[in-house]
Amino acid sequence: MKKIINLILIVLLGIIIFLGCEKISNLEYNIDSNSCNSCGKCLQVCPVDAIDFGEDGKAVIDQTKCNQCGQCINICPKDAIY
């Protein structure tokens, strides 16, 4: 339990440090492959064909095509997009 609390504290500290940094000028969406269940719903809503399955069978966003519309983050049943 102590380890978990320490880890949460480290992570929160990390977030505070990074929140102190300036934010980038445009958004970027990515997919947490540990949470993705490969359902493909994000592929079906992406209006610019920027999402497909990658080498581990999980969805991947092609950053050269993504227009940051955010439709995929709404639809993901596993909330894997961030």
């Binding site: 380890k3 978990i4 880890l7 949460i8 992570v11 929160l12 990390g14 977030i15 990074f18 929140l19 940094c21 300036e22 934010k23 980038i24 000028s25 445009n26 958004l27 970027e28 969406y29 990515n30 947490d32 540990n34 949470s35 493909g40 079906q44 809503v45 992406c46 209006p47 610019v48 064909d49 497909d52 399955f53 080498e55 092609d62 950053q63 050269t64 095509k65 227009n67 955010g70 439709q71 983050i73 709404n74 639809i75 909330d79 997009i81 961030y82």
Partner: protein, 412 residues
């Protein structure tokens, strides 16, 4: 029709034999309702006369998913198919009739792994929306996607190597306004978009806890333009501590150099940090804490910039009320301030009586949506069930949607 016959023949061929076979099949009917009181245009053709105005009434759909796996000694063959059809509705989706099929062959002798995969995604023309491709601003309609993939991994004692290559061919039509035609018509042309994705990674195990790695990624838009090309090259450090079978800590730091016309110069020097701690207490309580940070160094401004942070905490409590299957309560939080993706969620899967389970879940994302679902699942056996589920989502910026699913899942 031809496609369905080919899929059926493939399915029969793969099913013959005495080796270990696994089939998973799920069929469901869905009824889609929306909170919107306005009709919408689902634009499936560039011709101004061909747009369908969709009313707000109940719309029906069907989905069939099948997964087939067959294992030999060091050989695995699998075939997945996902067929979806729905009446055109207010639902946010590009196509209302498509089929997604994948055939995968893998071979894994000793410390090696080979994979060859072909995927085909087909979209019905009359039920697929018109899309605009950014960068080129072309008005397009997807017809078919072919994905051919090759993967190799070598897991030596200290040294590991992996390679991945994918050829993606998109068959699409694009539309150009026909100025010579007095009827405001669009001329239609067929085109292929070909992309090749390759990546390779070499990692070296320093000791039981640490390994270092170098990796490269190259994406080439094989069509004339270099606009969508992308190169990445980087180095990283991975830490993995396994306390026992269920409890472990994995952390890694990765720096890479980004090079693409479509990616802003701010992101040339890119940093990715990931941590995940998984813990299980007794047989009932389990959970994990996961944190991902993406940031970059802008050399022009000499500043470290944050791209996104995501913290996720999950806790699951499982309990058995009968000798059948586990019931559980799961709750968690995701914090993602940069993309406004922060949310809390909770899920309950509760055994009621005689193989009947109740499902309830709620999800609240302050800036994106609020959703809840309820349902019942009745198990004829641990591998055969019928279910009914209702999913309601309030998308805040777009009309609410309510989908009722009735389906069956079978494993054989």
């Amino acid at each position: 029709m031809k496609k369905i016959i080919v899929i059926f023949i493939l399915f029969v061929i793969l099913s013959i034999g005495n080796s270990e076979i696994l089939n998973w099949s799920q069929i469901s009917y869905q009824a889609f309702l929306t909170g919107s009181s306005d009709d919408i245009d689902v634009v499936t053709s560039a011709s101004p006369n061909a747009n369908n105005t969709i009313n707000t009434k109940l719309k029906s759909g069907l989905r069939w998913q099948h997964e087939f796996k067959r294992n030999f000694n060091n050989f695995n063959i699998s075939f997945d198919n996902n067929l979806f059809y729905s009446e055109k509705s207010h639902e946010s989706r590009n196509s209302f009739l498509f089929n997604d099929a994948k055939l995968k062959l893998s071979y894994f002798p000793n410390t090696h792994y080979f994979k060859l995969q072909y995927g085909n995604r087909w979209f019905d023309e009359d039920n697929t929306r018109i899309l605009t491709i950014p960068g080129t601003e072309e008005i397009t309609k997807q017809k078919m996607v072919h994905n051919t993939e090759l993967q190799y991994k070598s897991n030596g004692k200290k040294l590991k190597f992996s390679f991945y290559g994918k050829l993606r061919n998109l068959d699409y039509d694009y539309f150009v306004f026909d100025e010579e035609n007095s009827n405001d018509e669009f001329a239609r042309f067929s085109e292929w978009e070909n992309d090749i994705y390759t990546s390779a990674k070499i990692s070296y195990e320093i000791n039981n806890l640490f390994n270092i790695f170098v990796s490269g990624y190259y994406k080439d838009d094989l069509n004339e333009s270099d606009l969508f090309n992308h190169r990445k090259f980087g180095v990283g450090l991975n830490y993995f501590k396994k306390y026992d079978f269920f409890n472990f800590l994995n952390a890694n730091f990765y720096y890479y150099h980004n090079d693409s016309q479509r990616i802003s110069n701010e992101k040339t020097h890119y940093f990715l940090t990931q941590m995940r701690y998984t813990k299980r207490i007794g047989t009932s309580l389990s959970g994990f804490v996961s944190y991902i940070n993406r940031s970059c160094y802008d050399s022009k401004q000499s500043k470290l910039l944050r791209i996104s942070n995501m913290l996720r905490i999950h806790v699951k409590y499982s309990y058995r009320l009968d000798t059948f299957l586990d019931s559980y309560v799961l709750t968690g939080i995701k914090i993602n301030p940069e993309n406004k993706g922060s949310l809390i969620f909770s899920e309950l899967n509760q055994y009621f009586y005689k193989n009947l389970f109740g499902l309830f879940s709620i999800k609240y994302a302050d800036e994106l949506f609020y959703a809840f679902s309820t349902g019942f699942e009745y198990y004829l056996s641990p591998v055969k069930s019928f279910w009914i589920k209702n999913e309601f989502t309030d998308f805040k910026k777009t009309p609410t949607q309510n989908i009722i699913f009735i389906g069956s899942t079978v494993l054989f």
